[in-house]
Amino acid sequence: MYAVFIIFLPFIMAALLPATHRLIGDRLIGWYVMAVPLVLFAALIRLIPQIAGGEIVSASYAWIPDAGIDLAVRVDGLGMIFALLITGVGTLVALYSIYYLSPRESLGHFYVYLLLFMGAMLGVVFSDNLMLLYTFWELTSISSFLLIAFWYHRKGSRYGAQKAMLITVMGGFSLLAGFLMLYFMSGTFSISEIIGMRDVLAGEPMIVPAMFLILLGAFTKSVQFPFHIWLPDAMEAPTPVSAYLHSATMVKAGIYLVALFTPLFGGMEYWFWSLSIAGIVTLLWGAFNAMKQNDLKALLAYSTISQLGLIMSLLGFGSAALSASAAGDPAVYAAAGFAALFYMLNHSTFKGLLFMVIGIVDHEIGTRDIRRLGGLMSFMPVTFTFAVIGSFSMAGLPPFNGFLSKEMFFGAAVDIASGQPFAGGAEVLFPVVGWLASVFTFIYCTIIVYRTFLGPVQPEKIDRVPHEAPKGMLVAPGILAVLVILIFFFPNVIGKYVIGPAMQVMFPALSREADLVPEITAWHGVNLPLVMTFGVIALGLLLFITFRHWRRIYRVAPFRWTMDSIYRGLLQTGEAASNIVTDLYMTGRSRDYFVFIYLFFLITAGGMLFLTGAFEPDFSRGPVGIFEISFVIIMAFAAIAMLFVRSRITATLLNGVLGYSVAIFFVFFRAPDLALTQTVIETVTTVLFLLCFHFLPEWKPEDSPLRTKVVNGLIAIGAGVLVTAFGLTVQGYDVYGSISVYFEESYKLAGGSNIVNAILGDFRAFDTMLEVVVLFIAGIGVYTLIALKPKKGEDDVEGK
């Protein structure tokens, strides 16, 4: 119950937010939202001793039991790390956003989306059912879409939101396919059960395709090359969102997924190579591209891409520990998994910090373009200090937490290169590429500090007088900055209580705690990783100073073939192709649409009727009296006359004759309910027709060629004949027994003697309910089309 409550609290609070917003106003709504992650964070901290003791808090409720889909929630060490990030960073981001967003923004929308995301993300990390996880997974994509498009009046925001949505949802579908394959192989949706069936599933031939599909989902979400292209465009979101979704939490959902399935797929060679190679390529490519950015947020986006690649490759290295056949000591490889989780935690602190710093610069100076910034140190001393702490940590310098995790990364890469778990040979490249990427990282960290805060001020290029941020805005980054330093001095507390339990989940095969939780030390003597760090600093400084001389290399690469232009090309081709198809049938003439509808009806329904030989007209039932015959004649006369009348009002009245005659037929057949309804409907429809007169063009005789007229006439006659044939056939149709006996019990079963209403309101209430909803949607549709259409001379909002 406790665990379910944790997931659903954000959703409940989001539902209550509009009412609360009205009650407490714009100034306090941010604090209301901040309380949610704060309470959850406290609740999770309380659970840590239990989880660290190896206990697992779980709860399960039947949701769709027939399909094996349960509301199964499971809080274990792995989910715990991510949940701590979601709630901890969530609290700080909410606090920061209170000062960042002006009350003129639509705060209500913003905070509802934020809470929605928070709940969805907690759902992802606590689900123990594949379908539940998938649902929450897509919900994070949707809330991310809404948040990126928060300033939807900007074209860039809409483009970025659409791009993020298309790429992550494509990955989501692939994930769904992978999950379904796992379900068909294992027969269950329960994640813990599936992981328990590791040995059985390893023999299945389809396990490798399922693995790749799941990886595609993880890679699109966690921006691995070549799916990283959506993240820089997602930076159009407000900075608190970038700090929260696009660096600290959502982009780590893919990392979570990989860690979650490590006990299942870990040890497979494909898994090792896919993760390591994708990760290491992303690491290098992200760092390489980060250096050339002029927009500080774009720089941070590429650096996030690069560091997510680093974490992914570490998870790949670590998975070698689960292979039975790999060479080397499993505990050494498992240390890479430990490093991955440690790096991820550190990344959230220093990257969140840096995003908030850039947000402050953007907020107070009005730009985040490094070509216009410089020398802000003397104006914003506190912000500058935070920037130094964050950047140096990211660059891997002591005394900041980034140093520890960067050293561990070097160590893990060296261990893999020397251990050669799968004897591929290519492992030797991992430390080299990783080291090179770290040099790039060092360079762009220096760029952040130097180009923003040092050097000459350029007052002519900025619009405002630089000044320090308000105190409230500095609290959240301040807390993160303190954490960055604290973690450096006390890393083993986190190692033991937070990462240790997660390692038990990821590497169930390794039981000794010493194997799972290596001691983190800042000083471990002069060894290869330390030498590598010195090399990074030396080469990094050298390259930074000579940056302007080798910047040209960015112009060498063939940019026609970047992933971005391929994406744009695909999108444009797709749109053009669907335009061609759509223009084929969307002619704008309602006569054409009637032709399509009735042709389809004639071909499918009519074809079915005659192909299956179901057409057996039955004239035997009931005598046809004089009343019926006379009304048939009236109706036929009205219908034919409608073709030749010269005014629209006559046509409307003739149409009314048809409608009221149908009502009279209902009376003949003793269906008073139908007759009543038909009469009222006919009345209201006639009023509607009269109202619409105003909008209809001049009534003029049709001047289409004879051929078209003949074809249309044939289709019209064919549709009429077909409906008649159906009517006659239905009369004689008795293949299945009648179900009316059941309905005749209506007085006993539903307490009503009007059988029609008993069916509508009780026996088939679901149909009626949906019809009511459809009616409502139709009404809203008409209203929206008319009331919200652009006025004359007003711009079309869409697209331009």
């Binding site: 008073p672 307490g751 009511v772 209203y783």
Partner: protein
């Protein structure tokens, strides 16, 4: 319409109440006799439409100051929630119940949850029909 329609206006004033009463009667009698939420709602909305046609929109709005879009939404919500109540009680979604009660004035009366459901239907119909007709006629 700006013609001299004194007769129409006078007749409407009386007839509207007859139509409204008829609509309510249809709605309530639907359980055992012809009628029900859908047709009851339609008759009620036709009375409103008659008012709108005979008088102008502003005048009617002063007398019937409802936002019919909200009524439509509220009705759809009532239908939906009336079904959810059954689900909360452990019955299949949209199960209806009924019982016979000895009420002070009415005597032995049958009360059925389907009435709530039908009320939702009726409100949606009224809201939707009036919304459509009003938005088309306002757009001149």
């Amino acid at each position: 319409m700006k013609e001299n329609d004194v007769i129409l206006r006078t007749v409407t004033r009386v007839v509207v109440f007859i139509i409204l009463t008829f609509g309510v009667e249809l709605f309530l009698s639907g359980h055992h006799n012809p009628g029900g939420g859908f047709v009851g709602g339609l008759v009620l909305s036709s009375a409103l439409v008659l008012l709108y046609v005979v008088f102008d929109i502003e005048t009617v709005h002063q007398g019937v100051p409802f936002d019919f879009r909200k009524i439509a939404a509220f009705g759809a919500m009532v239908s939906l929630l009336s079904g959810t109540a059954a689900a909360v009680l452990g019955k299949p979604f949209l199960s209806q119940g009924f019982g016979y009660f000895d009420l002070p004035i009415f005597g032995l009366t049958e009360l059925a949850t389907v009435t709530i459901f039908e009320a939702g239907v009726a409100l949606t119909v009224i809201g939707t029909v009036v919304t459509i007709i009003l938005s088309i006629s306002k757009d001149v």
